[in-house]
Symmetry: C2
Subunit: 416 residues, 2 copies
């Protein structure tokens, strides 16, 4: 098995060397070909997916997990379209990030180049297979796709179809490879393939990400765990606050940019706590609240520190009244996963202070946490949302899938 990952990575390195200098037109033709092929293969993909779903049901997998695993023709068409859309985006490779002529006449350019080989380690959703293959190809990276064993049949067909299509379009098939997920150790081998894999991106729940961070010797970009807060300031427009809190919590609950915790300044608590409690209850949300929330509604459960630390990913929220803006910031710094924090306020100084202090990948001022998204930000594509406090943070689009190299040109320059 060690053999399997190492050999795949070696073939990926060779493919990456070729892909790094493949012109945009060839990459775009390959993406379009892959999109066409995925649509054409819809029946084959759905047949494989039906096996995965049947196995999952037989194994007692809960329905909300099966919902993420299950494909239909619409979902296949959607991820095929996602691959096609990539062709229309600018190629990040070769972009000159900065450049200047130095005092000694050396001409310096910092240029975007692909990382090389990306290791993706992810959970159930088979659409990630097509998304990641497309984004990596467009950004000039080879990718090793290590999905969940629960989606093994679906992923295998998607990878096969993708490889065949890009190879026919002149891109090495080994730029996209699946890694056997039936063997647990293959994920560990992938994250320890130093010198063969340049970057590992885990996508999934907190447990998966924690494991990767602890065991990887390859650099990791963490993605996606979001214990996001909505803070309603003393100077908030309370209608706006209610609308944002509801949207952030309920518009889509299973995603990392959904709100998981609500903080309310004491100055507006008397009016706002009963209003928001009622509205959340009407939307079917279970509230874990402090004394003020418990007083507003007998259905509110008492909140513990564990609640404040929990990413529910469902119709649950923790809630608390805070003494001040500083108190809200301190709470967020204690419990945040550094993803997205929102403040609702009309007070400019409060907004600035909140933004400068909460230590998050994204801060929303008078907007829903749900806007932290590569698509919403206009990046056109997103491989995940980095909560790693490295140079790429927040939604990772095509630019974030590149590193840079300095190319310095002289006329025989030597150092004195």
């Amino acid at each position: 098995m060690k053999q399997h990952v190492e050999e795949a990575a070696r073939r990926a390195r060779v493919a990456a060397g070729l892909l790094a200098t493949t012109p945009r037109a060839v990459k775009d033709a390959a993406l379009n070909a892959a999109a066409d092929a995925l649509v054409t293969a819809t029946d084959r993909i759905l047949e494989a997916n039906a096996k995965d779903v049947a196995d999952a049901r037989a194994g007692g997998t809960p329905e909300h997990v099966i919902d993420r695993l299950a494909l239909d023709a619409g979902r296949v068409a959607a991820f095929a379209q996602g691959v096609r859309d990539l062709a229309a985006l600018a190629d990040p490779v070769g972009e000159v990030v900065r450049g200047s002529t130095l005092a000694n006449g050396l001409r310096m350019q910092q240029i975007r180049v692909p990382f090389g080989v990306i290791g993706m380690i992810y959970e159930g959703r088979p659409n990630v297979t097509a998304d990641a293959a497309g984004i990596c190809l467009k950004s000039g990276n080879a990718v090793l796709l290590r999905g969940s064993s629960s989606a093994a049949h679906s992923n295998a067909v998607i990878v096969d179809v993708f490889r065949e299509a890009i190879a026919a379009a002149g891109v090495p098939a080994d730029a996209v490879q699946g890694i056997d997920a039936s063997d647990r150790s293959s994920a560990t081998e992938l994250m320890q393939a130093r010198g063969l894999v340049d970057l590992v991106i885990p996508r999934g729940g907190a447990g998966l990400i924690q494991t990767v961070v602890e065991q990887s010797t390859v650099p990791v970009i963490e993605t996606g765990v979001g214990n996001c807060h909505v803070y309603v300031d003393a100077d908030a427009d309370l209608d706006m606050a209610l609308s944002i809190a509801l949207n952030a919590k309920t518009q889509r609950t299973s995603v990392c940019n959904a709100a998981e915790s609500l903080l309310v300044h004491k100055a507006v608590a008397d009016e706002f706590v009963p209003r928001v409690t009622g509205a959340l209850r009407d939307a079917g949300v279970v509230i874990h609240g402090d004394a003020a929330f418990e007083a507003a509604d007998p259905d509110v459960l008492p909140a513990t520190d564990e609640d404040y630390a929990t990413e529910y990913l469902g119709l649950e929220i923790s809630a608390r009244v805070v003494e001040s803006l500083d108190d809200a910031i301190a709470h967020i710094r204690q419990f945040s996963s550094h993803h997205t924090e929102a403040i609702v306020t009309r007070d400019l100084a409060a907004a600035q202070r909140f933004a400068a202090s909460v230590d998050a990948a994204a801060v929303m001022v008078n907007a829903s946490t749900r806007f932290t998204d590569g698509g919403e930000f206009g990046f056109g594509a997103e491989i995940g949302i980095s909560t790693q406090k490295m140079h790429a943070r927040g939604p990772m689009g095509l630019q974030e899938m590149t590193t840079t190299t300095y190319v310095v040109t002289g006329d025989g320059h030597i150092r004195a």
Copy 2:
């Protein structure tokens, strides 16, 4: 001891929270005060350094290592001036990297913010203590300085002087802290202080960096290992090639951007190999060469793959004749540490192909490898040269000591 690192890191987090919003004027005043204080404390620093040097000599430390450890008034003045120079540089914090108004009216800005707490793990040279303290302070980061036990007395005084000066200027003293180096495990604790330390930067030899990469659970930026090549192409100006090869190898040998390996295209080997062999020998350089180099000079030693992989950091070089540009690229991809690779050529296509294929942080075309340096690149300061293929790669100046946050401002925007 675990206590010691954890408590220091907790104090650093508090200081980092304050430093993140400290105005540039206050930070610059603190840097100038620290520079003054270091000069004033020269005698105290030299006295402590004399103890370190005496201990090192008594322990049989080789003289070239003692040379890196030993300070004199000139060296103290130089690193004090380095700290002073930082005050003149622009503050990277708050810089807007990109910004736009989205179609829905949301105003999005990507803004540079400090990482938070940096862990520096480094070897002998006490000047790194002052350099790193200054660069971290200017970029709004708190720093935990874990130097070598061999420089413990020197580092302790430099840290004391620095802390006292910045505290008097209104910056929390705990923004700069030394970590006890007498205990080996303190380095391990620093690199595993997840949630308390945001980024670890190891600076030193290959062994140190390997250890940090393998053991750290905090994100790491690797620095400094440079097995740099000079490739003399078929179409090179051979006078230029000779001058660059000599400069890259001999101008300063103990640094990561010195050349360690010379590749010569076979088309110019008959003329160039004897010339460069003679010139390197005259400069006192020991050559580990292939058959062509051995034939040119009886003093040339036979080169092994181990030689081609070695960063000599001294008056030694490996050398080989290659069949083609592709052969040179393949050799470099096999043995490179991805730091700096140089090509000497008049052929534009060869230069472009080399730059796109060698997978290095920096590529020099007709210039010495020695130019890969934050100072030479005009960054004004450098905490190290990243060979980590992440988003910050090559010389790391003040910009590379920041991450970013997206601040998105709306008027009650919710997602549909």
